[in-house]
């Protein structure tokens, strides 16, 4: 297995603020925002193949746990499939998920292509929000972050489609230490804490919301290792590693690194050379590391202690046993260099390449100039402003020219929303959105004129699909 054999996707839920409205309206407002999306799209999602209650450990749960506070706000309303879903010409799904506009990227093989498609999602969300704002004459803001600073988290999930070879327990054994420590160099950073003792700043927005090691839930009692068994492909052949413990990144280089590290962990696991660390309490470890920026904190093992940087670096060292492609070589090099800077406590250099460091550097300067208290709500306001998706207001955009890597500019984002990746089934899905005869789309299939066509994740989709202008040609090409 090579890194490109691992098909990846990113699902990002955005924070949504509509002028004069509150949490109790967030679901209905979000549906209307998505419905207002002005670009080309197909509007019917096919839910037939979804199985969010299936657990990789071989059972189905009766129900998924939900947030009891949010349940107070639920009631009535609802939405039609067409209001809540947009399948875009690039194969992505833009939809309303629990009151958050969510952009689920098209499937990619390259970590950089994925990072760019994920960033293009910002434009999709913004355009929908602008269209809704114009229609309603209300101001709308969207934020690319994972928390409201009051205990409500929303996700940025990673998906890795892999051959079904290992059990959930085996994968967790090899990957949990990586999932716990990678925040050192690709956390998004957060002012303050929403649980436990006060801290000025954390590496990760999501870490303190991980309260279990393994389970199938995502809305409540969130686990570091999610066991949802929903491959969106033939279950006998494929499994999808659904990673929910990571942060949404602002820098595309950080998104690429985050996915690259997990791909590396999977390659090491499949080749039987992953390092073995037995963490005594992964939940405590992920929270503790997050709360200790620039501290090479000790992680408690079942048989002693180890520095968090050393655990993460052990995956990079083990990679020497593999023959790596260009993207995996970049991942290892970038991770080594960032870990070196971390060990040197060089926040200035880190701030050019690392999301949490860029934010923390800015926050410290604001704190010094304005004399705000550490971790205060006032500094959290600047954290929020950093993640504001408005390119004319967001603080990230003002700093970006100084970063080591630049994100795609708006014209490139626009192109990305129209152009599916050429080497995954997203190509077929994206092209299918063109046709009036398309009944429905989902990750694993498209249905045209009543016929459902399975989109196998390892099939080759011909480039000629790009020029298909009618359903007959599309069908012929896709069945080759």
């Amino acid at each position: 297995m090579t890194s490109r054999d691992i098909v990846i996707g990113a699902d990002v839920e955005y924070g949504l603020v509509v002028e004069g409205r509150g949490v109790s309206h967030q679901v209905s407002d979000c549906v209307e925002v998505v419905a207002a999306y002005p670009g080309p799209s197909h509007r019917v999602w096919d839910y037939r193949f979804e199985s969010p209650r299936a657990d990789l450990r071989g059972f189905n749960v009766a129900r998924l746990n939900t947030d009891p506070i949010d349940a107070q706000f639920d009631g009535g309303g609802g939405s039609t499939n067409e209001q809540a879903n947009c399948i875009l010409p690039n194969g992505a799904r833009f939809y309303s998920d629990h009151g958050h506009p969510e952009y689920a990227s098209p499937e990619c093989r390259s970590i950089w292509e994925l990072a760019h498609h994920d960033w293009a999602g910002v434009l999709a969300v913004r355009k929908a929000a602008e269209a809704y704002a114009n229609k309603k004459e209300q101001e709308v803001q969207v934020f690319r972050n994972n928390t409201d600073f009051h205990g409500a988290a929303y996700g940025s999930h990673e998906n890795y489609l892999i051959p079904r070879k290992f059990s959930a327990e085996e994968l967790a054994r090899w990957l949990l230490p990586l999932m716990v420590t990678r925040q050192l160099i690709c956390g998004a950073g957060k002012v303050g804490a929403e649980s436990g003792s006060k801290v000025p700043f954390q590496l990760s927005q999501r870490a303190e919301f991980m309260t279990e090691v393994m389970n199938v839930d995502t809305l409540f009692r969130r686990p570091i290792f999610n066991t949802r068994d929903e491959p969106h492909a033939d279950k006998s052949e494929w499994m999808r590693l659904h990673v929910i413990c990571g942060d949404v990144n602002m820098m595309c280089s950080q998104t690429a690194l985050k996915f690259g590290l997990m791909k590396l962990g999977l390659l090491l696991t499949y080749n039987g050379v992953a390092p073995e660390w037995k963490l005594e309490d992964p939940v405590a470890a992920i929270a503790q590391i997050s709360r200790s920026p620039l501290k090479n904190s000790q992680v408690v093992l079942c048989d002693g202690f180890e520095r968090s940087c050393n655990i993460l670096r052990s995956y990079l060292d083990a990679a020497q046993k593999l023959e790596l492609d260009v993207e995996m070589l970049w991942t290892v090099k970038e991770a080594h260099e960032l870990l070196d800077l971390y060990a040197q406590e060089d926040l200035v250099a880190l701030s050019k390449r690392c999301d949490w460091a860029a934010k923390w550097s800015l926050i410290q300067q604001i704190q010094e100039d304005a004399d705000y208290a550490s971790g205060s709500p006032e500094l959290q306001a600047y954290d929020l402003a950093y993640c504001d998706c408005d390119p004319d207001e967001g603080l990230f955009y003002a700093l970006e020219p100084e970063f080591a890597y630049q994100n795609p500019a708006e014209d490139q984002m626009r192109r990305l929303l129209k152009a599916p990746p050429q080497d995954t089934r997203a190509l077929a899905r994206g092209i299918a959105t063109r046709f009036a005869e398309t009944d429905a789309c989902c990750w694993r299939a498209v249905t045209l004129q009543g016929e459902t066509i399975d989109l196998k994740p390892d099939a080759t989709y011909p480039a000629e699909l790009n020029s298909a202008t009618d359903v007959k040609t599309f069908r012929e090409l896709i069945k080759l």
């Binding site: 205990g151 409540f220 503790q288 006032e378």
Partner: protein
């Protein structure tokens, strides 16, 4: 609408192990880049926005 503490709050975990769950020492920081444009944006930030910012839990 109940804007009080959410039940969704993660479990409280006090540090009990040799991890450094303490305020980090402040490293030397240069002034952030971004120039006048950054300053313009910083001046527009409402310091109370995070206090008012509430979201539903997502996945």
């Amino acid at each position: 609408m109940n804007d009080g503490d959410r039940l969704t709050k993660p479990l409280t975990r006090e540090p009990s192990r040799p991890g450094e769950d303490i305020n980090p020492t402040k490293p030397d920081v240069q002034k952030p880049d971004g120039g006048n444009e950054l300053m313009r944006r910083l001046r527009k930030v409402d310091p109370d926005q995070a206090k008012k910012y509430r979201q539903r839990s997502g996945q």
